[in-house]
């Protein structure tokens, strides 16, 4: 109260009330300006440009883009390869997200319940997160090597001849998924550990007194209380699954026979290998729409389960 009065009288005492007032009104926007310039130039303007140019046919051999209506989109939806790419992406999404979430939550709960070696477990699980994707990919090319790779060495120990892993179209996509799970799991373990710290310990105590077993305890106490973390992890995972690229580019180049060709890799191929800018822009527009659509659907579907605070 007193503060307000003091502030008011200070303001009245000033001669430059008018210019000050206008300045004060503009200031909030001025603080946003530097960020806004970058945001518009390198995020929002490019997206709108892509949407616009997706209605034009344009490649390296055409001097000017030519209006083509929905041709690019029609071409994409009649393209068997693009359908394959979408299928690969969906398989990737369905194959990694549940595994990553269940494993990382399970491991986080186990770490959280222990008192000893906690820091060691955290550090070990987290270390792959720090490895650049390019390096992780290279490392796994070596692990998957059919002759000298450690995976086939272990298999041979058990009398199994081993597999070609990333060189066979039946195992390539799965092999890449394993690498991504290995690479990302530590990050989500840490996120879940953070979420678990907010769960009140006394709830576990009373569950114990009431004779709840381990599974019941976590099903009825832990799970409902970490839903905000869970939602966050699901959304991060969805975005991740649509931006997979580095690993494909280094390990398989989309092969064998397009078995590992995913959305962003396909954009890369069409635009920077075949120089078809029209298709590249249409793909960009589609990806932005797909990302937003999936995230909105997920948020709506899960909102009623999420408990805050």
């Amino acid at each position: 109260m007193i503060l307000e009065v003091v502030k008011g009288s200070l303001k009245k005492g000033s001669d430059k009330i008018k210019s000050n007032d206008i300045f004060e009104k503009v200031v909030p926007y001025l603080f946003l300006l530097p960020s806004a310039i970058f945001l518009i130039t390198f995020t929002y303007y490019p997206i709108f440009r892509s949407f616009y140019l997706s209605f034009f046919e344009h490649d390296l051999w055409m001097p000017e883009p030519q209006f083509a209506g929905l041709d690019n989109y029609v071409q994409l939806f009649n393209d068997a390869l693009f359908m394959r790419v979408l299928r690969n992406n969906v398989i990737y999404l369905i194959g990694t997200i549940p595994v990553v979430i269940i494993l990382s939550l399970f491991i986080a709960i186990l770490i959280n319940e222990r008192t000893r070696f906690k820091e060691f477990y955290e550090a070990a699980a987290f270390s792959p997160t720090l490895i650049p994707m390019a390096a992780a990919a290279m490392l796994w090319v070596f692990l998957y090597n059919p002759n000298i790779g450690i995976i086939n060495r272990v298999l041979r120990l058990f009398g199994h001849p081993g597999r070609a892993w990333i060189n066979s179209s039946s195992t390539a996509l799965g092999s890449l998924m394993v690498v991504m799970i290995w690479k990302n799991i530590g990050y989500f373990i840490i996120l879940f550990l953070a979420g678990l710290q907010n769960v009140n310990q006394s709830l576990y105590e009373s569950a114990k007194i009431n004779g709840a077993n381990w599974l019941q305890k976590h099903r009825f106490i832990t799970l409902p209380l970490i839903t905000p973390t869970l939602l966050f992890v699901i959304i991060v995972n969805i975005i991740e699954s649509f931006r997979v690229f580095d690993i494909v580019h280094i390990m398989t180049q989309g092969g064998p026979a397009n078995a590992t060709n995913v959305f962003v890799y396909y954009i890369y191929q069409q635009t920077f290998r075949f120089w078809n800018f029209g298709l590249g822009n249409a793909l960009t527009a589609l990806l932005v729409i797909i990302l937003f659509a999936i995230i909105i659907v997920i948020m709506r579907a899960l909102r009623k389960y999420v408990q805050y605070g």
């Binding site: 603080f31 390019a134 649509f242």
Partner: protein
Amino acid sequence: MLKGEIKIFSYKTKEKVGNLVSHIFLMIICLIIIVPIIWALTTSLQPSEAIFQEGFGLIPRSFRWQNYAEILDAAPFGIYLINTVIVVTAIVILQLLVVIPAAYSFSRLEYPGRDILFYIFIAQMLLPLQAIVVPNYDVMRFLGLINTRTAMVLPFVASGYGTFLIRQQFKQIPQSLLDSARIDGAGHLRILRHVMIPLSKPIITAFALISIVVHWNDYFWPLIITETPSVRTLAIGLGMFVQQESGADWTLLMAGTMFIVLPLLVFFIFNQRIFIESLMIKSGMKE
């Protein structure tokens, strides 16, 4: 009486066994996670014929440190390292310079359109650069920035994540501190410098650390935008090295791989607590 004691006893044993089983399980998981890194490290330190020996080769039988000297000759990894440091430093500094004022505006000032602008700012989180690389390439061509380090910095400067994170922190600073600063005649910039930023150091550090890790690893954008080794960064440099060396001298390839892994890994080992705490803050899940 006796019955009760047995029950307590068996309950305790059960708990002990469960604890032991959990530790064994966690140890195995951690081993599986670390083994690939250890294997790459030992491979990178051995003579090239060593990898064809029997066994798993997790413990080196002979050392050959020259592998690391040789990859520095085979590809300009030294230049890549310098470029990476330049690009990552520039990204982090510029990010902080634009994100902090925006976070201040969104958290502490009132004006029409604030909330909708905030959503527009943070919606960027849903739009990874990978998704909009095609039009961004055009923008860079228009600006004449193809094949420059600048082009590797600019698209990452505005950060929805950073704005969100630092705004959350700024909101928690008591209004009374700001009021008394105002009475002392401090303007917005002085309030930012002397009140908001000093009180938000942990979050700002956290954001900077995350940003370093993320951009140290950038691969796709440098692949598109660079054409010559002189501007390339480590991750993409390794990618190019792999493709020209596909004849595969594995020890050299692994030396190159470890060369880009080790700086961050060593940095992490010495700052483990700060890193893990930062990540927990990053998720915004820790109060």
